[in-house]
């Protein structure tokens, strides 16, 4: 699996999940993650758990974590905000080392984003004191491993913000 500088490929993100021995991906698909979703479905070592609402992803992942397996949560920033109470209670309150890979809808480095989903994402994470890493290309994907390391060290959720759409 060769990373592609300047682009974000689903293969690179999947590679990080496998490197970190993720067992379950608790996810609610969004348009940005579709390529990754298709790859994950073909990966026999991953158990995909499809949820109906993002707060449900956090409590599910928390249970998987207490059960001794290693989940990752894959959601969009809109759903991250919906998940606030679940993150507080089931993630932070139970001291779970959860990595949340979050589609950063609306994020741009150019001009002003009109998308309030992006406007409030980092403010939300800061309000909850959740550390986060930005990933915009394959050059950045090693930050996913940093997030796993930090979550384990602190026994707290850590977020990875996916700032671009995947290229297949």
């Amino acid at each position: 699996m060769v990373n592609q500088p300047g682009k974000l490929t689903p293969q690179a993100v999947l590679g990080e999940m496998l490197k970190n021995e993720v067992t379950h991906v608790v996810c609610l698909p969004d348009s940005e993650t579709n390529w990754l979703y298709m790859l994950m479905e073909k990966e026999p070592s991953l158990d995909l758990v499809r949820v109906a609402r993002e707060g449900q992803a956090i409590s599910t992942a928390s249970g998987i974590s207490v059960g001794g397996k290693k989940p990752v949560v894959l959601i969009q920033n809109t759903g991250l905000m919906e998940s606030g109470d679940s993150i507080r209670g089931w993630g932070m309150g139970l001291n779970r080392p959860l990595v949340l890979i979050v589609g950063y809808r609306g994020w741009t480095r150019k001009g002003v984003t009109p998308d309030t989903a992006a406007v409030y994402t980092e403010r939300f994470l800061n309000a909850f004191n959740i550390d986060y890493y930005l990933v915009e290309s394959d050059d950045d994907v090693s930050r996913i491993s940093l997030a796993f390391d930090e979550a384990k060290k602190k026994n707290q959720p850590v977020a990875v913000l996916i700032g671009v759409e995947y290229e297949s």
Partner: protein, 196 residues
Amino acid sequence: MIETADMLRVFAQYRGNSIVIPGRGGRHWVPLSDQPSRDLPLRDPAMGGHASFAFGMALALPQEKVVLFDSEGDIIMNMGALTTIAEKAPENFYHFLLDNECYATTGGQAIPNATKTAYDVIAKGAGYRAAYAYDDLEELSNDMERILSEPGPVLVAMKVYPEIESLPINARPAWVTRTRDKIIADVQQSVGVATR
């Protein structure tokens, strides 16, 4: 209507070695349990999440029987969880529902459509392998052993008497004697997974 404490005494006879997440029945279950190291009396980390949490444990520990005592107020906060549980269909998951038709911990206000909602029908419609409804303890007692020997996921909806709490939260008697970290560590040690 069923008294929660009486129902839990019946369940205790058939608990076996299962992991028990007592949820809203916690304050009755803690003094009853003969295996506290396999219990997760977490109180209420965040309302609406018990079903997903217990389901997650069932997924991670397929060799263990996982029993949850959920509430109807929790389940209607996150009804979509039922479809996820049904899709993954963990055979080791037993989902008991304490339906007291009100929000007892906040003073007894009515649950939406409290007397007409059929949670067993909803669970069955979501795709649970089996779902039952009881409002009589004797009938439930007769069926408890059989239900717990069936493959899950199973939902058991029970009409229970409300135990309304009106004291301010900080003035309520504490019934959990261990920290959450200790409770989790005890269960993880009991099932043989690395603590954390």
